[in-house]
C-alpha cells in the first residue's frame, strides 16, 4: 500500500477548496432555478468557512477561528435561510430569466477566468508558497459573480450574485492575504448584514409597487424621460 502523501497537508487542502470555490462560482453562473442558486450560495459559504479555518490553523492566528465561525453562521446558515424565507414569503416562482442564454454566459465566463488568471499570474511570485494561485482563483470567482449579476433579470438572482461577489472577496482576504485585521473584517461583516437587511426591506417595497420582482419592470427610468 502506498501512503497517501500530500493529501492532508494544509496548503494542498487549501488549493482543493479554492478549486471547489471556483467550481461553485461557475455552477452559480450556469444555474437556472432560484432554489438551487440559494443552495449553491450556502455551499460557497461553508467552503469559505472551512478555508478560513484552515488558514487559521496554518497561520496560528486565533482570531481567524472566530472569523471562520462567524462566516459559517452568517454565510453558510443565516443568509441562505433568510433568502429562502424571503423567496417563500414573496411567493416568487419559476426560473431565473437571463439576458443571454446559458451557454454564451458560460463562454464569457471562461474568457473572464482566463483574464483573471492572466492578471494574477505575475503576482504569484510575490506570494508565499501556500497561497500560490489563490489570488487568481479569487479574482476569477469575483469576476464570475460580477458576470452573474449583469446577466440576470430577477432581483433575487442579482442579490445572490452580489453575495457571491462578497464571498469571493472574503476568500481573497483570507486565503490570498492570510487574513485581514479583525476590526476590518468585523466592519465588513457588519456592513454586509445591514446591507442584507436593507435588501429585505427593499424587496417588499419593490414587490408592492411593481407586483413582481422581475427587473424588467425596473427599467422605466431612462435618459429621454
Amino acid at each position: 500500500m502506498h501512503p497517501a502523501i500530500d493529501w492532508f497537508s494544509l496548503p494542498s487542502l487549501l488549493k482543493f477548496l479554492a478549486a471547489w470555490m471556483l467550481l461553485l462560482s461557475f455552477a452559480l453562473l450556469a444555474q437556472r432555478r432560484l432554489l438551487s442558486l440559494i443552495h449553491l450560495l450556502a455551499w460557497q459559504g461553508v467552503t469559505l468557512a472551512v478555508s478560513t479555518a484552515l488558514v487559521a490553523e496554518l497561520t496560528g492566528d486565533r482570531l481567524l477561528w472566530l472569523s471562520a465561525a462567524l462566516t459559517f453562521a452568517l454565510k453558510g446558515l443565516l443568509v441562505p435561510t433568510l433568502l429562502h424565507r424571503l423567496l417563500r414569503r414573496l411567493q416568487v416562482r419559476g426560473d431565473v430569466e437571463m439576458s443571454l442564454n446559458v451557454t454564451s454566459t458560460q463562454l464569457i465566463g471562461i474568457v473572464l477566468v482566463i483574464f483573471a488568471f492572466a492578471l494574477a499570474a505575475p503576482l504569484s511570485g510575490a506570494l508565499p508558497a501556500a497561497t500560490h494561485g489563490m489570488l487568481g482563483i479569487a479574482l476569477a470567482a469575483f469576476l464570475l459573480a460580477f458576470l452573474m449579476m449583469i446577466t440576470r433579470r430577477k432581483a433575487i438572482s442579482e442579490v445572490v450574485g452580489f453575495l457571491a461577489m462578497d464571498n469571493a472577496l472574503f476568500f481573497a482576504a483570507t486565503s490570498a492575504t492570510l487574513g485581514m485585521p479583525l476590526i476590518v473584517e468585523l466592519g465588513v461583516a457588519l456592513d454586509a448584514l445591514i446591507a442584507f437587511v436593507i435588501l429585505g426591506v427593499f424587496f417588499f417595497h419593490i414587490r408592492e409597487s411593481f407586483e413582481s420582482l422581475d427587473l424588467h419592470w425596473l427599467e422605466h427610468l431612462r435618459e429621454d424621460q
Binding site: K15, F16, A19, A27, H132
Partner: protein
C-alpha cells in the same frame, strides 16, 4: 510471452464482464429502495440476459447487414475498451497498444455504429433517438477528452495505467485542476450512460427517449448483447473514474495476494459508487431535451477551466 500478465489481463476482462450486470442490478435495487419500491433482486439482470439469449431475434423489414452486425461491433469495442483500463492491475499487456485518446476513439466507434444501425431501421423513433444521441455526445466527447487531458498533463503520459500509477503514488495531491476534471468526468458519466438528469433508462415514453429509442427495434440475442454492452459501458466509466481519481488498491505487481486484494478493493469501490449514483439519480429530475446540450456544455467548460487552472496557475 508473459503468461502471468496475459492471465491477469484475461481475468480482468472476464471479471468485468461478469460483474457488469451485477453492478447494474445493484444500482437498480438502490434506486428502487430510495423510491420506496420493492427491489427486483440482485440476480435480475442475469435473469433478463438469459431470457433474452434464449429468445428468437427478429429483424425489421428493410434493414440491412448493419443492423445485424452492430450489436457485435458494440460489444466487441466495449470489451476492447475493457482491456485498456486498469481494473485490478496496472499495465495489462494490451494497454500498451492504445492510450486514453484511443479509448475515447473506441467508444466513438461504438456510438457511430449504434447510431447508424438505428437509422438503418427506417422507423421514426429510432431515427429520433439517433439524432438526439449525436446532439448530446457532440459536446460530451470533448468534455471527456479535456478531463483526460488534465490527468495526462499532470501524470506526463496519456496511458491510463501510468496515470493510475501516478495518482496512486500521491503525485496529484489535491490539484485544483483535478477537481475540475472530476466534475467534468462525473457529468460525462451521467450523459454517456443515459442516467437521469439526461435520460431516463427506464422510460417507456418514446418522446423522451435518447438511448432507449435506438434499442427499440432489437430483440433476442441482439438485444441481450446491447443490454449487456450498456452495462459494461457503465462499469467501464466507473472503472475509469476509479483509475483516475481513486486508484488506491490497484495492484502494480503480479503476485496473487496483491491481485486478490485488488479485486476486493475494486468490488468494494463499486459497492460504494452505486449509492452515489443512485442518490444523484433520485434527487435530480430529468432535464428537458433542449437543456441537455447546456449540461454537456457545462461539462466541457469545467474541463476547460481545469486546463486553464493547470496552465496558467501551475496548479
Amino acid at each position: 510471452m508473459n503468461w502471468g500478465a496475459w492471465g491477469v489481463q484475461t481475468i480482468q476482462v472476464l471479471l468485468a464482464l461478469a460483474i457488469a450486470p451485477l453492478f447494474a442490478a445493484w444500482l437498480q435495487m438502490l434506486r428502487s429502495l430510495l423510491q420506496n419500491r420493492r427491489p427486483a433482486g440482485l440476480g435480475q439482470a442475469y435473469r433478463d440476459l438469459r431470457r433474452l439469449f434464449h429468445k428468437e431475434s427478429l429483424l425489421p423489414e428493410g434493414s440491412s447487414w448493419l443492423f445485424r452486425f452492430s450489436p457485435y461491433v458494440l460489444f466487441g469495442t466495449k470489451v476492447m475498451a475493457l482491456t485498456l483500463v486498469p481494473i485490478v492491475a496496472v499495465n495489462p499487456p494490451l494497454a500498451r497498444a492504445a492510450d486514453v485518446i484511443a479509448l475515447v476513439g473506441l467508444l466513438a466507434v461504438a456510438r457511430v455504429f449504434q447510431v447508424l444501425a438505428a437509422m438503418d431501421t427506417g422507423t421514426a423513433f429510432a431515427d429520433l433517438g439517433a439524432h438526439r444521441e449525436m446532439l448530446v455526445s457532440a459536446l460530451a466527447e470533448p468534455a471527456l477528452l479535456t478531463a483526460f487531458f488534465i490527468a495526462s498533463l499532470l501524470a506526463g503520459s496519456t496511458s491510463l495505467s501510468t496515470i493510475a500509477l501516478h495518482a496512486q503514488q500521491g503525485m496529484f495531491s489535491l490539484h485544483p485542476s483535478m477537481v475540475f476534471a472530476a466534475a467534468a468526468f462525473f457529468l460525462v458519466l451521467l450523459i454517456e450512460n443515459a442516467r437521469i438528469p439526461v435520460d431516463n433508462p427506464a422510460t417507456h415514453l418514446e418522446l423522451t427517449m435518447i438511448h432507449e429509442a435506438m434499442l427499440l427495434e432489437y430483440s433476442g440475442r441482439h438485444l441481450a448483447l446491447l443490454e449487456w454492452g450498456a452495462q459494461v459501458k457503465l462499469l467501464l466509466y466507473v472503472a475509469m473514474g476509479i483509475a483516475l481519481f481513486f486508484p488506491w488498491g490497484i495492484a502494480d505487481q503480479a503476485n496473487p495476494i496483491a491481485l486478490l486484494l485488488a479485486c476486493l478493493a475494486f468490488v468494494g469501490k463499486l459497492f460504494l459508487a452505486a449509492p452515489i449514483l443512485a442518490l444523484v439519480e433520485t434527487l435530480l429530475a430529468k432535464k428537458r431535451l433542449f437543456r441537455v446540450p447546456e449540461f454537456a456544455a457545462s461539462a466541457f467548460l469545467f474541463g476547460v477551466i481545469g486546463l486553464l487552472t493547470h496552465f496558467m496557475l501551475g496548479a
